[in-house]
Symmetry: C2
Subunit: 373 residues, 2 copies
């Protein structure tokens, strides 16, 4: 076994999920994640946790959802799915849930009707909530399918994934803590870059130091971003990192904001998809997240949001729903059925200001050598 | 997909497990059983059941058990495992459990110490009991590993497996019902064959018509045997079907019984293993089962007890524990930590008598054409 798989498992169990002896752990194993599952089981055994492995197969889901959708009684809201009581019981009794992504085909469920998908998602909402109430962490095993999505050989993709995951998280958490402090204390953010001059308010909002650990309210491995929930957005912004959204390629999105709302938009590719997203609901026209990628182990775009949005020297903004973790007790943030991240490279001709002070220029933070205020 | 996989799934869900709309089903998926899992999920979707798939990986188990065993506090009884509360909750809320066997290496857990294995089995006993309280069925998907164990190509092995599984179960159940009636009414059984003349009492015992369906108290697919719990065994018996027991090849076992106990034994191979089994406890020297194989879809020995013991024209006897289903209310049968089946071919120079009447001769039952009393 690649020694990095073992290190990945240790990072996941110890740094990310903080598993302790006696914890009841569920490990969700995607079709291609067998080797990581073996390594994770070994580490969980060493820590004295218990383990249940579930088979998180996209092909199994597709077969089930399509068959149920076709054969069950349907209302206007789609097929009438039931909440699985046994699955709910499993997650209600779990302390930790580790999701090992890494399928064999990123389009395996592409022919499940959207209506069926949504109806199933509604019925399993209590299961998802029970899962989110645990110390959950999602990660991925580098499969051929994900390498293909990234446009890379599987060997090169493995190097990429482990560079992103096997970081010195403790020191990255410390560095990101500095940015969190600045954002927590700040009121106004300004982002200036090519075709971009955006002003956002963050007053009173709480930044999350997303250091790939439940100890930091961070549930993805890799992570490496600091994010908060902005409001009152004004100005324009361009996103030069291409991505796939709902199966469509989206490139060079440009948004114009007035009074916090998108009032004009364009895209070199995927403009229709972008329009559909903006028309979902009122909240879809407002920002739910400002995130600053700080994981320099991620040095290229791989068309996988788990990695792309954490890439060092990038900033992302999400249309739609804000995270509760960014909101002070009692305050409600932007609400929407969608949360769509858009990413821009800030490594050149860019600056990020907080309350008039430059905190990042051309990818360098103000505490780094080479920073020019 | 091989159409037979779909038929296998339908037989499992409909005939064997009798799944109904709203049932909460757990599907346990062995490493090599993905294709069957997809087909089963499709059928469960059509029937309107809910489904949770667990990953039943021998390699994951091995990694966990070895690591836990080495790192945990150990007593004289081996490592101190805990009962997984979340797994228990899952099975306590399940209506049906379908186990899809078919691994990738039948020796995948060969280097887990026996002590660790036994300690883990004790801790998970409540989980197993919860599973056995459901409408559970075990089956196998024909993997390369199982083909190898059978000494066959995977193509030929698939044909073999589907011949065994895709039967007209309704009519086989009816035929087996005739044998059950004879055994239920009978008192004395005599088995005569080469080097074999054995007399057993079955008075008051209840025969199980094992027709591969929970409706018949039968939990294996394939099945196709009628079995009961004998006692007061006298005489000698030879078993000419070779098998692997606890990793050892065992061939041409010969047993001599007096007053219900084995008083002498020999084997052309595996005699030491046989001796160890007989010395396990007092019950290991007595018979717990007399079974008559009636599945003529199984026409060869494949070193897999799930198939071998159901083979048409064979009789098997088990040393050790009797099944409760064969015992009248309040009566206790032979008790032992072991239950080891031994099989003999009765297709030639053999007869089975019940109360002095021949009911099977040279593999023909008395209701079949060609039967000679």
């Amino acid at each position: 076994m690649d020694e990095r798989i073992r290190e990945h498992a240790e990072t996941l169990v110890d740094w990310s999920a903080r598993v302790e002896a006696g914890d009841d752990v569920v490990v969700r194993v995607a079709e291609g994640a067998h080797d990581l599952a073996v390594a994770v089981a070994e580490v969980l055994g060493e820590r004295g946790a218990t383990v249940v492995t579930t088979y998180d197969s996209a092909e199994v889901s597709r077969a089930y959802l399509r068959a149920y959708g076709e054969d069950s009684i349907s209302s206007d809201d789609g097929p009438d799915f039931e909440t699985p009581a046994h699955e709910l019981a499993l997650y209600e009794r779990a302390d930790v849930v580790l999701s090992l992504g890494g399928g064999r085909n990123t389009f395996a469920t592409a022919d499940v009707p959207g209506e069926t998908r949504q109806a199933a998602a509604r019925a399993t909402q209590p299961v998802r909530e029970a899962r989110l109430a645990t110390d959950w962490v999602s990660t991925v095993h580098p499969t051929r399918s994900l390498a293909q999505q990234a446009g890379m050989s599987v060997e090169a993709y493995r190097d990429f994934v482990y560079d992103a995951i096997l970081r010195d998280w403790e020191s990255l958490a410390e560095e990101m803590g500095q940015l969190k402090e600045i954002l927590d204390a700040g009121s106004k953010v300004r982002l200036v870059s090519e075709n971009t001059d955006l002003r956002l308010s963050i007053e009173g909002r709480i930044a999350v130091n997303s250091a790939a650990s439940v100890a930091y309210d961070s549930h993805n491995l890799p992570s490496g971003e600091v994010f908060t929930a902005p409001f009152d957005t004004e100005g324009q912004v361009s996103f030069d990192v291409p991505m796939t959204i709902s199966g469509a390629r989206v490139r060079d999105v440009h948004l114009q904001f007035e009074d916090g709302r998108v009032v004009d938009y364009s895209a070199a590719a995927g403009e229709e998809t972008l329009g559909d997203i903006l028309d979902t609901d009122e909240g879809a026209r407002r920002l739910g997240e400002l995130g600053i990628g700080m994981n320099r182990g991620i040095d290229r775009v791989t068309d996988n949001i788990l990695f792309d949005e954490k890439m060092g020297d990038t900033v992302h903004l999400a249309l739609g729903r804000a995270y509760d973790a960014c909101l002070p007790e009692g305050e409600s943030g932007n609400d929407s059925a969608v949360h769509v991240d858009l990413i821009t490279d800030v490594s050149e001709r860019s600056r990020l200001e907080v309350d008039g002070e430059v905190i990042q220029r051309n990818g360098r933070f103000r505490w780094e050598t080479g920073f020019e205020s």
